[in-house]
Subunit: 292 residues, 2 copies
């Protein structure tokens, strides 16, 4: 079974067990927020690191991957709310508050966060130590002062600590992905922080590049000068080609940071495949093909 | 040290460790949402049940009590939002979205939920099994389909399952209080469900009575007919005196439901004191003094 199918099946098991009882609208909204999914990048990384670390508790690993994706989906539902991004669309369909209601969108986010911890606890019998480490880690990377809540919270400040902002807003759940993969496999998570952090940085730069190219092509705006929504951007800082070079450097650093382990080569392959996926096509034309 | 002081000190330790780093506004909003507190009824019940069960892990018990209160405070912050109750005041001061902003209110609720699980995990070293049971229990009683998120979610339904609604909306966190107290002390939580459930029911009926008396005295509306905000009410169902009798019956049932344990008598005393606190003064005049 491929990773993608494994993730979808694990998510489906959790949703099937969680809906049915309770208020019907909330149950439907929770399912709507989680399926059909996006690329499932974070749980894919988690499962890949767990495999590279010699995964021996597949049920716990599945639970960790699902929990991480539930938190990610919850953050999207809340970020889309009118008081934040006021986004009407998400993954090509109406966002949860548009399709259901604002109250149900707030509750859906809350309920998905809570479900994440229920799922981990439910899969930890016999491996309680790992279960609690996963719980602590997921909560820390999701909340405040170091998680994605803090990242979003920085946007309410008049002076932003940019490093802390990016680390929390984008990096935190990628660090959770690599480190929870290690924890689920019974390994020390510390050596896996850099990989998560660098993947998060790459994701951020790729996103900035996509925004800038979209501005250029679709909006006709000059590139490398404006700062969409007032947020800092790698393109504004380094220019388009500079940002593309920086993306290459970060991805090379990510691969170099992979700790020695049985699945090291496979994991490097995954990061390369992931890089191919996140680098906008228009950016490829900008940079020399490295080493080919 | 009294229970109240013990709870406040435990909450303060968590807040002190959680703020300082991260965005300043979110940190302040989290503290604002949690202090100064209300009656801290849920953590008081939790600590009392733990003591009655022969508490042997005070740090874990403190963590469970704080976690439960954080979830309760988070639910108040989200319930006060304009899309739900649109409440400008809470505990005599502006609600979080008024004092800070809607984005910070959403984030504060999210971050407090996450902090709850971080706190339990952080206190579970050496008692991992109990820590995971506390996690599972708190998540189940707070989320959906059986927790307070589901309770709130019922309000978005056209047809409400009244029993499920009350059980989830008010009862769930009282069940969490009694059962998590037992778990923290290493005991089976099952025999403690009835006590939590009955305290929750008493709380609901007392609340209905208070609403009805407030309507009569302050709003000049007839009592026992209207249904404030379209929500079901014990007063509408039984009338004022009937609801007062029902409250007595529920509280007697709660005391009778306390499982045999070393601290049984002390716990019964606590429920009686709690009853005195929640029963509106005007209701006392309505009922015969039982057995005195």
């Amino acid at each position: 079974m491929g990773l993608h199918q494994r993730i979808e099946e694990a998510i489906e098991r959790v949703l099937a067990a969680s809906t049915g009882a309770g208020p019907e609208g909330l149950g439907r909204a929770m399912r709507y927020a989680v399926t059909p999914g996006g690329a499932r990048i974070r749980p894919t990384i988690l499962l890949s690191v767990a495999a590279a670390c010699g995964e021996d508790q597949p049920e716990l690993t599945d639970a960790a991957a699902v929990a991480l994706e539930l938190i990610h989906c919850a953050s999207l539902v809340h970020d889309d709310l009118p008081c934040f991004d006021d986004a009407d669309l998400r993954r090509g369909k109406p966002s949860v508050h548009v399709a259901f209601s604002q109250p149900l969108a707030v509750l859906t986010g809350d309920a998905l966060i809570l479900k994440a911890f229920e799922v981990i606890a439910g899969a930890s019998t016999g491996v309680e130590g790992r279960g609690l480490k996963l719980t602590a880690h997921l909560a820390m990377r999701s909340g405040a002062p170091h998680g994605i809540c803090a990242g979003q919270g920085w946007e309410s400040e008049t002076e932003i600590d940019l490093t802390a902002y990016h680390k929390a807003k984008t990096g935190a759940l990628f660090c959770a992905a690599t480190q929870m993969g290690a924890i689920a496999a019974g390994q020390d998570p510390a050596p896996w922080e850099d990989l998560g952090s660098l993947i998060g940085e790459a994701f951020q730069v790729a996103d900035d590049l996509r925004d800038a190219l979209c501005s250029q092509e679709e909006l006709g705006k000059p590139v490398g000068q404006d700062d969409l929504n007032g947020r800092p951007s790698a393109v504004a800082q380094y220019g388009l080609e500079g940002a593309a070079r920086r993306l290459d450097d970060i991805l090379a650093g990510a691969i170099a940071s992979i700790p020695s382990c049985p699945g090291e080569a496979a994991l490097a392959g995954l990061v390369r495949a992931y890089a191919d996926r996140i680098v906008p096509n228009a950016v490829r034309a900008l940079r020399p093909v490295p080493g080919e």
